[in-house]
């Protein structure tokens, strides 16, 4: 089991008032699954993504990622988990502007303490998987939106994480480029990567094999749209 979410509650203190964002959410995600988390704004979708990405800890309930109880970890331990178990892909790409493609992709390995030679090999592999080998020494502002997102995907892949967490990865892209990016995710899932897609676009969610819908901080529906694991198809 990759993800194990049990009765998660998350409340934010807005001044005096406690605002609940998640009111008891439970689900499991298996290794190699391809899941879309959907919901309108205010549904708790972003909160869910922050928790799943170990950027935040739940107010109550348990979240286990690869067997680690995230709720009990210190900030630096969370950073380690994010580094080794989660690969983030953001809507706004979030690349380091002054660094070239290679260094952007290499960064998680540096923070993970990987040796130089191994870093070079893994980084080049990841860049090759998203087809940007010829853009290795370019800065992000010299790339198109689709290329930037592919750099971000390479960065998410490079540490061989337990899951890739994509937050509206096509939100800033035109539909043709968006489809291109989605096909990369599809392909990665076929190769056995666990993918979590947070989106509000149904067309994007259709790429996943399972859709979890959130509404008002609760799971509204959880349905399979295709065989649960790629190899079962």
């Amino acid at each position: 089991m990759t993800v194990e979410v049990r009765d998660i509650v998350k409340t934010y203190a807005m001044g005096e008032v406690e605002v609940p964002a998640l009111k008891g959410v439970s689900f499991d995600i298996l290794e190699k699954e391809y899941v879309a988390i959907m919901g309108p704004s205010g549904s708790g979708k972003s909160t869910m993504m922050n928790l799943l990405g170990c950027l935040d800890v739940p107010s109550s309930g348990t979240y286990r990622l690869d067997g680690h109880d995230v709720g009990e970890l210190t900030e630096d331990r969370l950073a380690e988990i994010r580094n080794s178990k989660v690969g983030f892909v953001f809507q706004t790409f979030n690349l380091i502007p002054r660094s070239d493609v290679f260094h952007n992709v290499e960064l998680p390995l540096i923070y993970g303490g990987v040796t130089r030679a191994k870093r070079k090999k893994l980084t080049e592999e990841a860049i090759e998987r998203v087809g940007l080998t010829d853009r290795m020494r370019h800065k992000p502002n010299e790339l198109s939106g689709g290329q930037r997102q592919r750099v971000a995907i390479a960065r998410a892949l490079v540490n061989r994480p337990s899951m890739i967490l994509a937050d509206e990865p096509t939100g800033n892209l035109d539909s043709a480029t968006g489809d291109e990016i989605m096909s990369i995710f599809d392909h990665l899932n076929d190769q056995g990567n666990t993918i979590l897609l947070v989106t509000h676009e149904t067309s994007m969610a259709q790429h996943a094999r399972r859709i979890i819908r959130l509404r008002d901080g609760m799971v509204e529906s959880d349905e399979l749209t295709a065989p649960r694991l790629a190899k079962e198809a």
């Binding site: 630096d76 979030n94 923070y111 993970g112």
Partner: protein, 411 residues
């Protein structure tokens, strides 16, 4: 190993960030540049002063005591010393006989006279009356000719040994040896020229190069005053500590002066140490004042760096969020910004050092011999890095404590 890699990454980020903001960095470092320039110049000047002081007192000899009427450095009531009797030649002879172990007992007397060679006249030249033993108690030797001999002293010959500066100013290119020159109204024959001492008179101290030595007997014969006040230089026996020997000298002097045990001494023992101690006190105060002033400028410079680092952290909030999201720990972010601030300050320090080379060269040429030592360079670089670390600490802590979610959302 992991920590080392993080540090390397921090270095890389710091340099990239500084390169990206060149003009901002330059302005920021100005305070540090001025501060380091101040630190280095103060220390160099202090070293230069100390060296030229040591040079000018080294001629006095560290194993030599000087028996004089008054102390060199008068602290307290000057009137106490006013009525002391002069030291006389008779007392010199008695002391010489009693201190048979001393390597030298040498009296000096001095007078100011104008000197003349052909049409060149020098006013107020320091004329030292002494004996052949002078070269035993001072570190200088003649470069040309000879020093005074016992016969010169015994027969009150009108011969003189001139300092290097006197030779230059009076004789120019001419060979002074065996030439006759006037000291006051009398004609003296030049028998030697002392080698150059180099110290151009330390702030009113004696300029050894501008002195003329004559036999003490000739000085008394020519310029009068058989009760002229004398100084007696006593060189301690080899291997004996100056402090022990000092008691012996005091004891013998008391006997010569027939002082009862309850009477205070009516003479003074002077040592180079006393001068050095006084100088060190003065120098210490000067250095402290210099350091306080430069410390203030470094402090102000440091505040500038803190300020710019806050700007840098705010500008890069999103980048910090990204780094944290992909696994940077707090210490990695902390190191990143600490490196940036210390590299800024280190660069400022280097520029300050370069400028200090210029100012030192100027001091060296115009005021006194001065040079920047390796020690000063190391201190300056360490100080600039420390200023960088201290002034970057609060902004770096702020960056390290940023919440990754909020940082990622920052526009």
């Amino acid at each position: 190993m992991r920590f080392l890699r993080e540090i390397k990454e921090s270095f890389r980020i710091a340099f990239a960030a500084i390169r990206a903001n060149k003009s901002r960095g330059t302005l920021t470092t100005l305070g540090i540049v001025i501060g380091i320039l101040g630190v280095v110049t103060t220390m160099t000047a202090a070293n230069g002063l100390t060296n030229s002081f040591k040079e000018s007192v080294s001629a006095l000899g560290s194993d030599v005591l000087y028996v004089s009427r008054t102390p060199w450095v008068i602290t307290g009531n000057w009137f106490e010393f006013r009525n002391r009797p002069n030291l006389t030649m008779k007392e010199v002879d008695k002391l010489d006989r009693r201190l048979s172990r001393a390597r030298a007992v040498n009296p000096t007397a001095h007078t100011d006279r104008s000197v003349k060679y052909r049409s060149t006249t020098l006013e107020n030249v320091d004329i030292i009356g002494t004996t052949e033993q002078h070269i035993l108690v001072s570190s200088s030797v003649p470069e040309l000719g000879r020093f005074l001999t016992p016969f010169d002293v015994q027969y009150r010959r009108r011969v003189c040994v001139i300092g290097a500066a006197i030779r230059e100013r009076l004789f120019d290119e001419a060979d002074p040896l065996n030439n006759a020159m006037k000291i006051g109204r009398y004609t003296f024959r030049v028998v030697g020229v002392m080698e150059k001492q180099g110290s151009a008179g330390f702030f009113g101290g004696p300029d050894f190069d501008s002195q003329i030595y004559v036999p003490i007997s000739s000085l008394v014969k020519s310029f009068g005053g058989s009760n002229r006040d004398l100084n007696i230089a006593v060189k301690a026996p080899a291997g004996e500590s100056l402090a022990d020997f000092e008691y012996e000298v005091i004891g013998e002097m008391r006997k010569i002066r027939k002082l009862t045990p309850v009477e205070k001494e009516d003479f003074s023992i002077n040592k180079m140490d006393a001068l050095v101690a006084m100088f060190n006190n003065v120098m210490g105060v000067v250095v402290v004042i210099g350091m306080v002033i430069t410390g203030i400028s470094l402090f102000v410079g440091g505040i500038g760096v803190t300020n710019i680092m806050f700007v840098s952290v705010t500008e890069r909030t999103r980048e910090i969020g990204i780094r944290k999201a992909i696994g940077a720990k707090r210490r990695a972010i902390l190191a990143q910004f600490l490196f940036e601030s210390s590299v800024i300050c280190l660069l400022g320090g280097m520029v300050g050092l370069l400028l200090a080379y210029g100012s030192t060269a100027l001091i060296d040429r115009l005021v006194m011999p001065a040079s920047i030592s390796i020690g000063i360079v190391v201190v300056a670089l360490i100080v600039s890095v420390l200023v960088g670390l201290i002034s970057g600490l609060i902004p770096a802590l702020k960056a390290a404590r940023l919440n990754p979610i909020e940082a990622l959302r920052y526009e």
